[in-house]
């Protein structure tokens, strides 16, 4: 070893025993500690109190539009079982549809990235359908498939399908040229390249799609439930039944449960993303 390089480390014997890297070694704990400081949480709390006051005032002025918050809370605590049951029904439809959409979209994304012919046939259509509000198909699907779970799975699956397809396909194909060249000179097979290079590279793109698609899947399930007026369960059904009977507290309690569900799903995606994408820029602060 030449002396000229002062970056060179000591000879073999002196190197410390290898340690497994902490999976979160790139992350600073700053974001979590920050919540202790009032300057961080106070604005949000003040805003919530203000909104609560506004709601209270609105409920007095427009009793047919807004129920008093206390009624909403009362409905929630009195009939918690009812809400939990319906939430689980909706959640089941949303995640099952999303799962189906995910599998289909991922497989098709791999096909489009490997076969230019498939790509040219599929991608232009996918791009158009991705910006089409597919929830609008829900009523038609209900007419075609009845009140069972089928139209709900189809609509959520369909809504999730195109964002996942487009993002994953983009990720699979955006591996830098020079990386590909390195592995091409080793004559890596397509499968090796997919498994070791393209799929890991596409994961950040996939997670970006999942963040969009998880809330969408709930919207899809709710709209499908609302369109099928004879459905037996789900928060969408609860909302349409309650509003037809003018039970405003139930309507808003259901909406609140939906919002909480959406937040929890997004949180779950974030937790998984942090574990899987420990190496990615998005997790460096």
């Amino acid at each position: 070893m030449t002396v000229a390089d002062e970056r060179t480390t000591a000879p073999v014997a002196k190197t410390p025993p290898p340690v497994e890297p902490s999976r979160f070694s790139l992350k600073h704990p700053r974001s979590r500690i920050a919540w202790i400081r009032p300057a961080v949480w106070l604005p949000l709390v003040v805003m919530l109190v203000l909104l609560g006051g506004l709601w209270h005032w609105g409920a007095e002025q427009l009793p047919y539009l807004l129920p008093p918050l206390s009624d909403v809370g009362g409905s929630l605590s009195d009939e918690l079982g009812y809400y939990v049951h319906n939430a689980l029904v909706t959640l089941g439809e949303a995640t099952a549809g999303l799962g189906m959409g995910f599998v289909g979209a991922f497989v098709l994304a791999v096909l489009t990235s490997e076969l230019p012919l498939v790509r040219r046939a599929v991608m232009p259509i996918a791009v158009v359908l991705n910006v089409t509000p597919l929830v609008a198909v829900a009523p038609a699907l209900v007419v075609a498939f009845g009140f069972g779970p089928m139209p709900k799975l189809i609509i959520t699956g369909l809504i999730c399908f195109f964002p996942i397809l487009i993002n994953t396909a983009t990720g699979l194909r955006s591996v830098p040229q020079q990386v590909l060249q390195v592995y091409r000179t080793m004559d890596a097979s397509r499968v090796e390249l997919l498994w070791h290079v393209r799929v890991p590279h596409a994961l950040p793109y996939l997670f970006a799609a999942l963040r969009i698609v998880f809330p969408l899947s709930i919207i899809g399930a709710v709209v499908a439930e609302m369109s099928a007026s004879g459905s037996t369960g789900g928060l969408g059904t609860a909302i349409s039944v309650a509003s037809s009977m003018n039970q405003l507290p139930v309507v808003y309690a259901s909406i609140l449960v939906l919002a909480v569900m959406g937040v929890l799903l997004l949180l779950a995606v974030t937790v998984v993303e942090r574990r899987v994408l420990y190496w990615h820029d998005s997790n460096q602060d």
């Binding site: 030449t2 002062e6 890297p21 830098p176 020079q178 390195v182 080793m186 004559d187 890596a188 820029d281």
Partner: protein, 281 residues
């Protein structure tokens, strides 16, 4: 023009009347025209020349990433495609091209998991016995030798640019390639880092003695590293001169003070200037 020295056995690299044209009709660019180059096994050859003279194109042809439109490229007597299938070629591109989700160690060991049948194909290719037997090298040891002993389990994002480029070089050496092709691997680094990386490259190379084809824009880098400096000219891309650098090895820092070193630099610079003016003409 011919970069050959007296050759015994199959040369590591052989380009015969190679031509490469991009585009068609009036938009066509002749990136390489009538290129002959013979490189005996174990030599360190640099390509230098003005931008656009086809250096990268020549490397891509050798690495089997593109086909010539005319002529023939042979690596140890077989086509680049066959050489790649036998994992005889190591590529170090301009950017380190590491996989950001793998630690340094796993980045440099990944090639061992890829194309596992290459070993058998490599044995079947002629004059294999003359070259070293390809045992699996200890990648940790290579990394330590390259000064990355403390970085084995770090992610590429946690390394400096110079360290990343070293990891990329170790990855290529880890293949124990018969031919190592490098396209301006140090061009993005500051001068100090660049010199220390040249040192380390030479150290590794002295040990493994593979044939190297090295593209650079730096005259002193070319002279310092190479047995032969090949000067190229653009429009159309071609080889105008190949200069054998007859300086003793190992070539440490002392070399920079020596007159012969600077004479070689001046010689290469003068040939480069001619290549430039031929373009202007």
């Amino acid at each position: 023009m011919d970069g050959s020295v007296k050759v015994t056995g199959t040369p590591a690299l052989e380009l015969r009347s190679v031509r490469r044209v991009y585009g068609f009709g009036s938009a066509a660019t002749t990136a390489l025209d009538d290129v002959h180059l013979t490189v005996p096994s174990g030599r360190f050859v640099s390509l230098i020349g003005p931008s656009g003279c086809g250096k990268s194109t020549l490397l891509r042809l050798v690495a089997g990433l593109e086909q010539p439109d005319l002529g023939e490229v042979l690596v140890h007597g077989v086509t680049p495609a066959d050489a790649c299938a036998a994992k005889m070629i190591g590529l170090v591109p301009q950017s380190p091209a590491l996989l950001p989700w793998l630690s340094v160690l796993r980045n440099v060991t990944l090639p061992q998991k890829i194309n596992r049948g290459a070993g058998r194909r490599r044995e079947r290719i002629a004059d294999f016995a003359e070259r070293q037997a390809a045992t699996v090298p200890d990648m940790k040891e290579l990394l330590v030798k390259a000064g990355l002993g403390d970085a084995l389990h770090k992610l590429p994002a946690q390394l400096s640019g110079g360290m990343r480029q070293r990891a990329a070089i170790v990855r290529a050496f880890g293949l124990q390639p018969d031919v190592l092709v490098m396209d301006e691997p140090f061009s993005a680094l500051d001068e100090f880092t660049r010199e220390s990386l040249q040192d380390q490259l030479l150290d590794l190379w002295e040990e493994l003695r593979t044939t190297v084809l090295f593209v650079t824009h730096s005259v002193s880098e070319a002279v310092r590293l190479s047995d032969t400096v090949v000067v190229m000219a653009p429009n159309p891309g071609r080889i105008v001169e190949s200069i054998d650098v007859d300086l003793p090895r190992p070539r440490g820092e002392r070399l920079f003070g020596e007159r012969r070193f600077h004479e070689y630099e001046d010689l290469v610079r003068e040939r480069l200037r001619r290549a430039w003016s031929s373009e202007a003409a």
